[in-house]
């Protein structure tokens, strides 16, 4: 177990949800991964990650927004929590710190 730390896939899924804001649900998240960075993840993989993130309290979910495209079924919208934003920023800061050490090297 990774504990409270984010895995790589979890990180990009969480980032996608963050970026999509109020429009974040299974399809938009999957499409963003596929179209933006070419990661054609299956919906199962996406949901597994969303699941874990919700359990780690990085995401909250709510039900709503049925459309005809999805046979009248409601969506499950995800919203990043404060803890989720913090986790992402920590990771970003850590990365930048590490990169700066790489770039400082002659």
């Amino acid at each position: 177990m990774k504990g409270e730390r984010l895995g790589e896939f979890e990180e990009i899924v969480l980032l996608a949800a963050y970026g999509l804001g109020r429009d974040a649900y299974g399809v938009t998240i999957q499409q963003r991964l596929e179209k933006s960075i070419g990661r054609g993840a299956t919906i199962g993989a996406v949901y597994a990650a969303l699941d874990r993130l919700e359990r780690k309290r990085h995401l909250k979910s709510r039900v709503g927004g049925a459309t005809h495209e999805r046979g009248g079924r409601r969506k499950r919208f995800f919203k990043i929590t404060h803890a989720g934003v913090q986790a992402l920023e920590t990771m970003r800061a850590d990365r930048e710190e590490m990169w700066s050490l790489v770039e400082d090297k002659p």
């Binding site: 938009t28 963003r32 933006s36 919906i43 699941d51 495209e69 999805r70 046979g71 409601r74 499950r76």
Partner: protein
């Protein structure tokens, strides 16, 4: 916002009717947890439509399946808190059940010895039960595979005056003809008799076993041929009967399943017969060994119809009786004063007879109709004739002889299962007492009583499930074993398969035991007093008493002991009965004797001379083989019952001439038979070469026959009336030869020399006869030489059933041996289980009483005293159980009576031996924990 994300929200028209493949949707509904099914399936459908536009249907569909499979693999399960979720409660229950299951398995792997003993105990109990139940189901419960099988009855002609063998269930052809002609009870009637014949015209002659049957038999049973047709009505008239039906097995085995066989000619016993059909594989009437069927001709016979008898007997009738009533003074006279009125001779052909009851006809009226027809046609008896007709439903007739034995086995395994359950309950009880602290802790941490009980229940079910699976595997092995050794004496055993019935039975039994034995500890858990259990620092007597299980466990062990003692006594009785049976003096010396039967082709050996010449030549040739001490020949080997019987009424009292006839078995033997078999001569002499055709007709009789013919007199040298008015002089009396079996009481038998036996009987008697060869080396080593000599003499005479006399005797007691062995195995199992029960109880109580024992030791008790105390406690338990068991066995073993030979069901020796055996086993089981108690170190235990 990336442009890509925006693109899917473009306003391009979306085909709203396109749906993902139905299979994908169906799969998704099955693999996706209810809590997220709506969101996930919505997403899947939306993605499908999206991809349909951009990638085409095929790729969209493929990716849709990939999505569904990914759902199956990752199994998203949102931690739903929504009130809308319909599946909240089931999910929680499934989740905790899985948790309980995992917990139970983990708990059991932590105490592997406990788990192994429980699983093994259950597995053996369930396995034994399912095996026997499968047999009982297949043999007794499953109906015969014919339409309305309970309307098919066996018809038996019974005459209380004639001492016929029990269970013969045969009827005369005369009754058949009369009843078929004038009766209304049956829609169809048929006669049948077993026979054997030689198939020639191929590489080597083959002996086939078959049956001669009335053509109506097939319509009666409601069975049609698989290929071709069955017999037609006119094929029972002479001249039209050259037809044959083959069994599916014979068709495959001898003709490779040749599809063109129907319509071809076969040479059977040198007679050409047209194959008209092949029967279905499952059709095995009258028994599974049948390979062919030919029409049986039933013709009226007149009184004294010797010619007809010869004709018929040589054709197909294996069993026959001649009834003769001697006239006044016809018996007991000397050869020279047989001047009374000529005796009237009636000849009867008997075989088996079945009928299908006509619509609306019941057994009672059918019996009345048959009896009145029977009495009307028996012309030679007076009006006080007590003969009657018996009707037995065919299935009862087939399985009747084994019904009580199988029920006995069922009872025995039922006991084993009860003991197994008691044992498991005991073990579970001990286990729960042992972990009362753990349970209390669990309870203190918030586990409800319901949860505690459920955990125990799940643990019980896991054990029962694994035990049941083991039992099922044991059943498969056990059934194969039983079918291979029991097929000779248990009819329909090939039906005993592990079918749905047996499976359901196993599952029910294992579930019931699971619930049963988890009930007791669960009750304890529910009644648990938290504070008391937690306060105790270690195991002590208190824990067990808290659970109130102490007395209950003692009762359980006592019941186990009692049940196993009953089984032990039953097994002891069967074993000693079998030992007595096997030790019965056969009346001859069976060591180093080879018995080889031969089947004579009928046409070329049509008369007595042809037979006699062939036998003379064969015996002369065989005697030349090195290692052979003597060769003789008999119509029936001594291990088999005489296949021809003659009923003769012999009156020694001129005042009371109308005595009931006695049935004599007829054995025709070659001159040196008695010497070669080393039979015991009681009086007189054996046959010699001088007892030839044309000489004074002589006979050797066995002791039973001598008693029957001349109860008060000196029989040797006197004559008695025989077939066709002939008087036979008794020249010798031999000891009774016992054909063994369950009922080895010997019947009266008359031996006739081959050279003098009535010529018309020779073909009937000797078509299947046996060489008996006494050898110096092991008998079977001579067999190849015997075969090659016989082929030189006549290659068309097949030899069969070659075996040593010892083996044949062993075979004849196979049935009692089978039951004795099975019941002994079950009794052994029961005793072992009971011993485990005693051991478990005592070692548990020793363990619980460690402190008490330590204190006693510290206060000066000697090891011997401690030992005595524990042994005394164990023995008290064993003895109480033993007394109950002995009482129970006195009540129950009389059910065994019909299976016992020369031993009373209350045989004191058996009771004593069973008691001693049990006490010995119990002492061993008690000794180990008792020794352990003496090894307790007070210093350590009290620290």
């Amino acid at each position: 916002m990336s442009r890509n994300a925006a693109s899917y929200r473009s306003n391009r028209p979306v085909d709203r009717t396109a749906e993902p493949p139905a299979l994908a949707r169906w799969l998704l509904r099955r693999v996706c947890a209810d809590s997220c099914l709506e969101a996930v399936s919505g997403d899947v459908e939306e993605l499908f439509r999206l991809r349909l536009r951009t990638e085409g249907w095929l790729r969209a569909a493929l990716r849709c399946f990939a999505d569904v499979f990914s759902i199956a693999v990752t199994g998203p399960r949102h931690p739903v808190r929504s009130q809308h979720s319909k599946s909240f409660i089931p999910e929680v229950i499934v989740g905790t059940l899985l948790q309980d299951l995992r917990f139970a398995v983990r708990g059991l792997t932590k105490s592997p010895a406990f788990a192994a003993v429980v699983i093994l105990t259950l597995g053996l109990g369930i396995g034994a039960n399912t095996t026997i139940f499968s047999v009982v189901n297949g043999v007794l419960l499953q109906p015969l595979p014919y339409p309305d099988p309970d309307r098919i009855v066996q018809i038996a002609e019974t005459d209380p005056e004639m001492e016929m063998e029990r269970n013969s269930s045969m009827a005369s052809q005369r009754l058949f003809l009369a009843w078929r002609e004038s009766g209304r009870a049956f829609s169809d009637m048929a006669m049948y008799s077993e026979q054997a014949a030689t198939l020639t015209g191929r590489d080597e002659p083959i002996r086939l076993t078959g049956s001669a049957v009335s053509p109506t038999l097939f319509r009666l049973l409601g069975v049609d041929a698989a290929v071709g047709r069955t017999f037609t009505g006119d094929e029972e008239t002479p001249g039209n009967d050259n037809v044959i039906l083959l069994s599916s097995r014979a068709w495959q085995r001898y003709f490779g399943g040749d599809p063109d066989l129907v319509g071809q000619q076969l040479r059977l016993d040198d007679r050409s017969r047209t194959v008209v059909g092949i029967m279905p594989p499952a059709f095995d009437f009258p028994d599974p060994s049948v390979e062919y069927w030919v029409p049986m001709i039933v013709q009226p016979l007149g009184a004294g119809g010797d010619g007809a008898l010869e004709q018929q007997a040589s054709q197909q009738i294996r069993e026959e009786r001649e009834v003769r009533r001697g006239g006044p003074g016809g018996g007991g006279g000397r050869p020279d004063d047989g001047s009374g009125p000529g005796p009237e001779v009636h000849i009867e052909l008997w075989s088996r007879m079945v009928g299908r009851l006509a619509d609306g006809m019941e057994l009672g009226p059918a019996v009345e109709e048959g009896t009145s027809i029977l009495r009307a046609t028996r012309t030679w008896t007076g009006p006080d004739d007590g003969a009657y007709v018996d009707l037995i439903v065919l299935q009862d007739e087939l399985v009747g002889p084994v019904r009580s034995s199988l029920n006995l086995l069922m009872g025995a395994v039922g006991f084993v299962l009860l003991i197994a359950c008691a044992n498991v309950a005991n073990l579970m009880l001990a286990r729960s007492a042992g972990r009362s602290k753990e349970t209390a802790l669990r309870s203190a941490l918030g586990a409800g009583k319901l949860q505690l009980i459920r955990l125990l229940l799940v643990e019980g079910l896991v054990l029962a499930g694994i035990g049941g699976a083991l039992g099922l595997a044991l059943t498969a092995v056990g059934l194969g074993f039983l079918r291979s050794i029991g097929a000779d004496f248990i009819p329909r055993l090939q039906n005993a398969t592990l079918d749905a019935w047996a499976l359901g039975f196993t599952v029910a039994v294992s579930m019931l035991t699971g619930i049963l034995f988890s009930l007791m500890p669960a009750r304890g858990a529910a009644a648990l007093n938290l504070t008391r259990a937690l306060k105790q620092e270690g195991p002590s007597d208190g824990a067990a008493r808290t659970l109130g299980g102490d007395v209950f466990r003692k009762v359980l062990v006592t019941v186990e002991v009692a049940l196993s003692v009953i089984l032990l006594v039953g097994a002891g009785l069967l074993v000693s009965s079998f030992v007595r049976l096997a030790a019965v003096d056969p009346g001859y010396d069976p060591e180093n004797v080879l018995s080889v039967s031969l089947q004579m082709p009928q046409t070329r050996y049509a008369n007595a001379d042809a037979y006699r010449n062939f036998f003379d030549e064969s015996i002369a040739a065989l005697e030349l083989i090195p290692g052979i001490e003597g060769v003789t020949l008999a119509s029936v080997p001594p291990t088999r019952e005489a296949n021809v019987r003659i009923a003769i009424a012999i009156s020694n009292d001129p005042e009371r001439p109308d005595v009931p006839p006695t049935t004599f078995g007829i054995r025709v033997v070659e001159t040196s038979y008695f010497e070669t078999m080393r039979m015991g001569l009681v009086e007189g002499r054996f046959f010699t070469r001088d007892d030839r055709a044309g000489g004074i007709p002589v006979a050797v009789v066995n002791e039973s026959a001598a008693r029957a013919i001349f109860p008060d007199d000196e029989p040797v040298g006197r004559s008695f009336p025989f077939m066709g008015g002939q008087e036979l002089e008794i020249i010798g009396i031999v000891a009774d030869v016992r054909t063994a079996g369950v009922d080895p009481r010997s019947s009266p038998e008359v031996f006739l020399p081959l050279n003098q036996a009535p010529a018309r009987l020779i073909p009937a008697l000797f078509r299947s006869s046996s060489f008996l060869i006494r050898t110096t080396p092991a008998p079977l080593t001579i067999l190849p030489a015997v075969r090659s000599r016989m082929v030189q003499i006549d290659p068309e005479v097949p030899l069969f059933r070659a075996a040593t006399m010892r083996d044949q005797i062993a075979d004849s007691v196979a049935e009692p041996r089978f039951y004795a062995a099975l019941v002994s195995a079950f009794a052994g199992l029961a005793v072992a289980l009971a011993a485990v029960g005693i051991y478990g109880l005592l070692s548990y109580s020793v363990q619980q009483g460690v402190r008490e024992t330590a204190i006693r030791r510290a206060l000066g008790a000697q090891a011997g005293e401690i030992l005595q105390q524990v042994v005394g406690r164990g023995m008290a338990l064993a003895v109480v159980g033993l007394i109950v068991g002995i009482a129970g066995s006195l009540a129950l073993t009389r059910l065994l009576e019909s299976m016992l030979y020369e031993i009373e069901p209350t045989d004191p020796a058996t009771l004593i031996i069973a008691t001693l055996v049990f006490l010995l086993v119990a002492l061993m089981a008690i000794w180990v924990p008792a020794r352990r108690a003496t090894k307790i170190d007070p210093m350590e235990a009290l620290r």
